[in-house]
Amino acid sequence: MPVMNIIQAVNDALRLQMRAEPKTVVLGEDVGKFGGVFRATSGLHEEFGAERVIDTPLAEAGIIGTAIGMALYGLRPVPEIQFSDFIYPAFDQIVNELAKFRYRSGGQYPCPVVIRTPVGGGIRGGHYHSQSPETLFIHTPGLKVVAPSNPYDTKGLLLSCLRQNDPVLFMEPKRIYRASKNEVPEGDYTLEIGKLNVVRPGTQVTLIAWSGMVSIAEEAAIKADAAGISVEVLDLRSLMPFDIVGILASVTKTGRVVIVHEAPRTCGFGAELIASIQERAMEHLEAPISRVCGFDTPFPYTLEHEYMPNADRVLGAIRQTLEW
């Protein structure tokens, strides 16, 4: 099996699907000849032409707004938002339109648009090239939110997203776009949306992460292991819907939970996980569920490493959970 990075996995999934399904089109800023600022759509313009790999004017509301109209008419648009920090001009189209079209039309108008967008910090991008906005979309009924952490999952999940009929926010962890590599089957395969992956089995503490934080969680788990603590690492992969069964299976086993995310702590998705777990498994919990998150400040530039969760902080939380 070839080894790919996440960019290549995205590219491969798009190419396969565009070959298989002529209705699939890609649109966004710089996605054409340039192949996207991260090169995720590289080569697609050459293979499928400017009509299916569309360099749009600079307007996210236009990218999503027209993608909605394309989907209603019968295409399968895959808009790219260059950085998730720039998704907000399209926010109305996403939360008031895309998310609600099927519902508000009584099921008449499904709207299968898959929005790809890089998320997260760690690239010295400051306020506007680092945000992790998943909460905003998870809180919006009608959207699915998928957040893979590695190339294999990226390809399989992206192909699944492109073939189902609900709108999806597909979050790509930009910090590890190239750094994360694993074996990826060449041809077609899909992964079920809504299922977590037990990245590392363990018995004492459940560590929940997604997207760019999975590798941090693994690092922390390895350090914990060295200190004699057995940590089970869950990669959620899909945030809406999220895999409550998989989470509870782990939590009822360990009784202790640490959640890691990059987004600001307050009202981050970690809060929902805590709420959902304690509602269903309070009697199994042996300590408060703790969170290692981004701080409740805008994402800073110089101090970004101080801002972002790291393995030491996660390890600290693991220890505290055990000591409680």
């Binding site: 707004g65 027209t66 109209g69 008419y73 009584g106 409550i244």
Partner: protein, 370 residues
């Protein structure tokens, strides 16, 4: 005050009294077609009147009238059935013309079990995919880039379908108007933009929306033709819409049409225009009423007589009454339908919430219909 427009840049065929203007070219349309338009335009007038009365009686939560603006709806008349229409909330004529029934319309207003959108949206937010009429949204302007997307999609898929989108002049101030128009220009999308300039956006007069001389002139910024038409002149409307649709279908790109008209009454059933505008202003415009002008024109052309109009008025009134009676017997959608159509399938958390609600409803709620 919305001035009666300068003639120079305004396309007209009929004068204010419904007579063909000297030198004007009458569009080449059949008698039958014109009578059908008058028929549907009358239905809009009748429906608006009946529904507003119902609303005033407290039997309907909300309504929005189009009185005085009905001719502009018939920009859809030259479209084919396969073409797509993105209406705003004030183009009842577009719905009826394309085959949306009085029953559909009234059931939507009541949000009952026969409502095509399953009681999900407020009154006047219709949707009819079988007629290529796209679900209406309350946030204004969002439909504009969407229509451009459909237009582009048709082009890409090698079909010659045209998309048409309606919006008010106030909506031209939104960012969505700009991005939609701009994409359409760049893509040469087969899309026709109908800006109904009815003078008001709730309480804000059109002069406070823009400093541009006309709304049609905004087309310049998008490299497409902008045409200003007397929106109360059915013949002029049919003409400019027909031309724009033909252009679009021929691959010559989009057109912006400013249909100059006037919102004779309140913005919606919740509005009271006497607070913010001079009551003499609507009077001025009542003389230019589109239905009256069309009637006069048809009479001159020998296509109208009182008996015919009386008959259709009675017929529609009866149909509306029947639909209301039927609607009264239809209950609300079942409580569990609340969880359908959020997604294609119902995910676990909604299954859980649904089960909980049904449990609650069984034991407690007075509203339980399930």
């Amino acid at each position: 005050m919305v001035a009666v427009p300068a003639q120079d840049d305004l396309r007209r065929v009929l004068d204010d009294d419904g007579r063909v203007l000297p030198g004007a070219r009458v569009p080449d349309v059949s008698d039958e077609y014109l009578r059908r338009i008058f028929d549907v335009m009358s239905l809009v007038r009748i429906m608006d009147d009946r529904m507003m009365r119902l609303q005033r009686q407290g039997r309907l939560g909300f309504y929005m009238k189009a009185i005085g603006e009905e001719a502009s709806h018939f920009a859809v008349a030259p479209l084919r059935a396969g073409d797509w229409v993105y209406p705003s909330y004030r183009e009842q004529g577009a719905w009826f013309w394309r085959g949306y029934t009085i029953k559909d319309f009234i059931n939507q207003l009541f949000g009952n079990v026969a409502d095509p959108v399953k009681g999900r949206q407020m009154p006047v937010h219709h949707s009819a995919n079988w007629l290529n009429l796209v679900s209406i949204s309350s946030p204004v302007g969002t439909q504009i880039p969407q229509a451009v997307g459909s237009a582009y999609a048709a082009k890409l898929m090698g079909k010659d379908d045209v998309s048409m989108v309606f919006f008010g002049e106030g909506t031209s101030s939104t960012g969505e108007f700009h991005v939609g128009m701009n994409f359409a220009g760049v893509w040469k999308a087969p899309c026709v933009f109908i800006c109904r300039n009815n003078g008001w956006a709730i309480s804000v007069p059109s002069q406070k929306q823009t400093a541009a001389r006309t709304f049609a002139s905004k087309a310049v910024g998008y490299g497409m033709p902008g045409i200003r038409v007397d929106g109360n002149d059915i013949l002029a409307m049919l003409q400019v819409a027909g031309e724009a649709i033909d252009r679009a279908r021929a691959g010559d790109g989009p057109t912006l049409i400013e249909a100059l008209t006037y919102r004779v009454q309140g913005h919606s059933s919740s509005d009271d225009p006497s607070v913010y505008r001079d009551p003499k202003e609507p009077e001025l415009w009542e003389k230019r009423d589109p239905l009256n002008r069309m009637r006069t024109y048809l009479r001159h052309r020998g296509l109208w007589n009182e008996a015919w109009e009386r008959e259709l008025t009675e017929r529609y009134n009866q149909e509306i009454t029947d639909a209301l009676v039927a609607a009264d017997h239809l209950g609300a959608p079942a409580i569990e339908t609340m969880f359908d159509d959020v997604y294609e399938d119902i995910p676990w958390h909604l299954q859980e919430q649904k089960a909980w609600l049904l449990q609650q409803a069984r034991t407690r709620s007075p509203h339980f219909h399930g």
